[in-house]
């Protein structure tokens, strides 16, 4: 199944990890443009699904790519999958955006917690992230619709589990149970991944 996915998914058949590494090591602009061509539209879609208007979404996409350019030297293809690394930057950018929004609305705060893209993997945790990503996509593809909906609403629409319950008119316990079933399937993948170490 993994092989089938590799044939059908562009991200698996194209070495975006290599492109990201090349941007980091060589400031490779052609590789950077390839990353932009693949990820920019996806990131804009990601932000728009979270309720941002197209203009704001595109502004955040631009800022994400500036961060990708500046931080790419921290990317280690042996430790991280390109999509996970870029997703983490995009998610942090969204949190920063929302915090600035809060800051505008409320009294100034003395302190805001920072979130850095964690690269501090110990030797025992050097998981092969690309394999993990491929396996995870397999699982996501075969999740029952009700479980899949909850995962997508959590990651893409920015809804908490309580908000998912309200939106779908189901009890919070049902949301947690469905999510738990999905996570249990995914944890088997993670466990396999850890056993590969």
């Amino acid at each position: 199944m993994a092989q089938a996915l590799e044939k059908t998914n562009v991200a698996d058949s194209h070495p975006y990890e290599d492109d990201l590494a090349s941007v980091g090591q060589n400031k490779d602009r052609q590789a950077f443009v390839r990353l932009f061509d693949y990820y920019a539209g996806r990131l804009k879609s990601f932000y728009m699904q979270q309720g941002l208007n197209p203009e704001t979404a595109e502004e955040l996409v631009q800022e994400v790519f500036v961060l990708i350019w500046r931080k790419a030297e921290q990317f280690d293809p042996a430790k991280a999958n390109a999509s996970t690394w870029i997703y983490t930057i995009a998610r942090n950018k969204r949190i920063d955006f929302l915090r600035k929004d809060i800051k505008r609305q409320e009294d100034p705060v003395e302190f805001l917690p920072d979130i850095e893209e964690d690269q501090s993997q110990g030797p025992e945790e050097k998981v092969i992230q690309t394999d993990l990503s491929v396996r995870m996509k397999e699982i996501i593809n075969i999740l029952p619709k009700d479980q899949r909906t909850i995962i997508l609403q959590s990651y893409f629409q920015g809804l908490t589990h309580q908000e998912i319950a309200d939106k779908n008119k189901i009890p919070l316990g049902t949301v947690k149970s469905r999510m738990r079933l999905a996570v249990e399937r995914l944890k088997h993948t993670w466990k396999d991944n850890r056993e590969d170490l």
Binding site: N9, R29, F36, R42, L43, K44, S45, F46, M48, Q49, P54, E58, V61, Q62, E63, F65, L67, W69, N81, A82, S83, T84, I86, Y87, T88, A90, R91, N92, I95, D96, R99, I102, K103, E106, E110, F111, L112, P113, D114, E116, D118, G122, E125, Q129, S133, M136, I140, I151, L152, S154, Y155, F156, T160, H161, K176, M179, R180, V183, L186, K187
Partner: protein, 219 residues
């Protein structure tokens, strides 16, 4: 000891999963994010869990995001921005949570007395309505009154240890409490005491005799 004690209930486990997923999805409040960020930085098992949930985000970005149309000037803008070193996207973030709390001497903070042997420090992080973020310092052997929760309570042990009926929580362990069904009474370690970071989404509900007297005054 891994992230949460094994004897936690099924409800705690699935609440923990929901929190870690909400964290990776960026859906937690600022205060809750502070707790989980700190937890991840202190606990190897939590760090592994977090990476997996982030990997799920990466996999979804790949396979579930139908690309939106990008305007023609977007790439031009990006290329211009990367050649401008002083662009405003450079991080102006304040101190990291770790710098603020774990590299400082806790004695330097302006603690306030909650009860004999128990002090608190309001963490200056943006909180939502009814949400509270505090550092709690408990002297050796001291305990908080037995209480349950209208909402969610995340408690991360920063120093020392405490125990309740669900287990012993050492430095880097996270206690997850949710709902009225379970009342607990945290007791600080007899030798070390305990300093923890606690974020609650709603006021505690004290359950003992004394607690029932106090409840009306903490709403």
């Amino acid at each position: 000891m891994i992230g949460i004690p094994q004897n936690l209930t099924f409800e705690k486990d699935r609440t923990y999963d929901a929190i870690m997923m909400d964290h990776a999805a960026g859906n937690l409040s600022c205060a809750q994010t502070l707790v989980i960020d700190s937890y991840i930085s202190m606990n190897d098992s939590a760090r592994a869990d977090s990476r997996h949930y982030l990997a799920m985000g990466g996999a979804l970005l790949d396979s579930e995001c139908k690309p939106s149309h990008i305007s023609g000037v977007c790439l031009d803008n990006v290329m211009a921005m990367i050649d401008t070193p002083d662009h405003s996207t450079q991080s102006t973030r304040p101190k990291n949570a770790m710098d603020c709390y774990f590299d400082c001497d806790f004695d330097l903070l302006e603690w306030k007395t909650l009860a004999p042997g128990i002090e608190y420090y309001d963490v200056p992080v943006p909180c939502q309505k009814k949400e509270k973020a505090q550092l709690l310092k408990m002297a050796p052997g001291k305990s908080v009154l037995e209480h349950s929760h209208d909402g969610l309570e995340l408690t991360l042990v920063l120093d020392g240890a405490f125990h309740d009926d669900t287990g012993v929580y050492n430095r880097g362990d996270l206690s997850v409490e949710a709902g009225h069904d379970h009342a607990h009474k945290p007791v600080a370690d007899m030798e070390q005491g305990c300093i923890c970071l606690a974020v609650t989404t709603a006021p505690l509900h004290f359950t003992g005799l004394l607690g029932r007297v106090i409840n009306p005054f903490i709403r």
